[in-house]
């Protein structure tokens, strides 16, 4: 649906984004993650047709969009980091102006639909100043989707929101996936990324990695299983190693075993422990948090 093809952006001598490539399909939520100044917002702005790349191309439905920034802006919905609503206009007026800027044939109808969809119809005559931050973000989201864009770019959509409002926004993002829109979300909230994203791009001026959250975990930490015993596990390490498991860590009653493709499967490990006389209480896959993955990969990236 939307592709970044070796996008590079420089501001004077400073390189903000370098050789970034990825593509996002319809119905996919794609997260851009990285430290402050990593180039996330710059990448979103290039994808939205707001600023031109220094080199590289943005492709929409396979077509290069160089020199067609206005067409790109018409096809894409961008939620900016700040809601950026006009404070002296009511919610309805804010949306109506944007509906007309997008040249919608029935702006009133589109505004009514958007307000119903985002649950803000009862605040239509309010000015943004009297709305909560969460409601303002809903209005901004409604504005982003007024023209029914196939691609939606969200820059820090839950930043500064209380947990309930953030949860509402996440629900709306999931709804976008169900509507078969391509969604690109830039955020610092790794828990949010873990819950929402189908794929994650770790960005630090250059792309560090692009994959699903699960695959990134495997790449960073491998696959591990944690077995909790009824007694101290130190004496059973040898039994596990005898099965061919090379990476065994003991911590009190817990054993953590690295799973290798050519190593013993989990049932064989459990069987070996039982045969050695261990009381097995629990067996579970050990998953690193996305934050751990992020920190590991970014640390590896540093020169």
């Amino acid at each position: 649906m939307l592709a970044a093809d070796t996008l590079t952006k420089t501001f004077g001598a400073r390189v903000a984004v370098e050789g970034v490539s990825f593509d996002v399909a319809a119905g996919e939520i794609f997260a851009l993650v990285g430290p402050n100044g990593a180039g996330k917002t710059t990448t979103l702005r290039m994808l939205a047709g707001l600023i031109a790349p220094s080199s590289g191309t943005v492709r929409f439905r396979g077509e290069p969009m160089a020199g067609a920034a206005a067409a790109l802006r018409a096809a894409i919905g961008l939620l900016t980091e700040a809601p950026g609503l006009w404070d002296r206009l009511t919610v309805r007026q804010n949306l109506h102006v944007h509906a007309r800027l997008h040249g919608l044939s029935r702006p009133e109808h589109a505004v009514d639909m958007a307000m119903d969809l985002f649950g803000i119809a009862d605040r239509a005559t309010d000015i943004p100043a009297v709305l909560s931050k969460g409601l303002r973000q809903r209005v901004a989201l409604a504005r982003t989707l007024l023209h029914d864009p196939a691609v939606v770019l969200l820059d820090e959509p839950t930043s500064g929101l209380d947990p309930e409002s953030a949860s509402d926004v996440r629900e709306l993002v999931v709804r976008l996936r169900h509507d078969r829109r391509a969604v690109i979300i830039s955020t610092h909230n790794l828990d949010e990324v873990d819950r929402l994203a189908d794929r994650v791009a770790l960005l630090n001026t250059r792309l560090v990695a692009v994959d699903s959250p699960g695959s990134l975990r495997t790449r960073a930490f491998g696959t591990r299983v944690r077995i909790t015993l009824s007694t101290a596990g130190a004496e059973y390490g040898a039994a596990l190693r005898a099965t061919g498991a090379g990476d065994v860590r003991e911590d009190g009653r817990t054993l953590s075993i690295g799973l290798e493709p050519d190593g013993p499967p989990i049932p064989a490990l459990v069987r070996a422990l039982v045969q050695a006389g261990a009381g097995v209480e629990a067996v579970e896959r050990e998953e690193a948090s996305l934050e751990q993955v992020y920190l590991r990969m970014m640390k590896d990236e540093r020169p």
Partner: protein, 269 residues
Amino acid sequence: MNTTRVLALLGKELLDLRGRPGIFVPGILTGAIAIFMPIFVAVIVPAVTGELLSDSADFQVALDLYRDQPWTRLLDPEAAIQSTLFQQFLILLVLSPVSAAMSLAAHSVIGEKQARSLEPLLATPITTLELLVAKVLGAFLPALALSLVCFAVDVAAAALFARPGVFLALLTPRALGVLFLIGPMASLTALTMAVCVSSRVNDPRSAQQLAVLVVLPLTALLIAQITVGFVVTVPIILLITGVLALVNTGLMRLGVSLFDRETILTRWK
């Protein structure tokens, strides 16, 4: 240029104004001064001192200068001097809408940036020309409306307080040309300049200070009329209007080429 988008943004600008009535205070004050000054000089001072303007040697010189102008020819000497004074202050009346709209135009782009509403606006398909035209018109139309109101009050004041026939001097082609050709064109020049500057500086005060320079030629015209007897005739009005129209077209083109979305979005804080 897509007129729907221009009208959409223009509508927003006008809606926005309803919440900022104070923005018109400088313009209303300038207009009030421009209306009051000729009444004070031509009506109140003679009434208080008991001395007619036509008895004064100074005004006699003015009368000699303007006596053969179409708007004074049929009037008695006192009314002729009064009508001359009302005409002279028309240029000042022209300045009132400019001063009203100046801060509006100066804030037009930088104000959006400060309110963080510029990026969502630029994310729509609106082009730079459409944006600038809407911003200029958003300041110009209220200024024009203020100008019309001030002129109506000026004519009414002349009809009420000056000698019979003096108010008709404000309805001559020359007076109407000053008000409705030079005035709007000068306003457009100032406002276009202010909007262009507003898109290049990150402080609205800078925009206002730079754009207010356009008031200087108009002020010079006013001073020239009063001090050296320079008569702004209809051909001169048409010439000034034509020059200003060209200047405005050039300024708008310059504004479009100077409007740097990237700098505005990435470097202004």
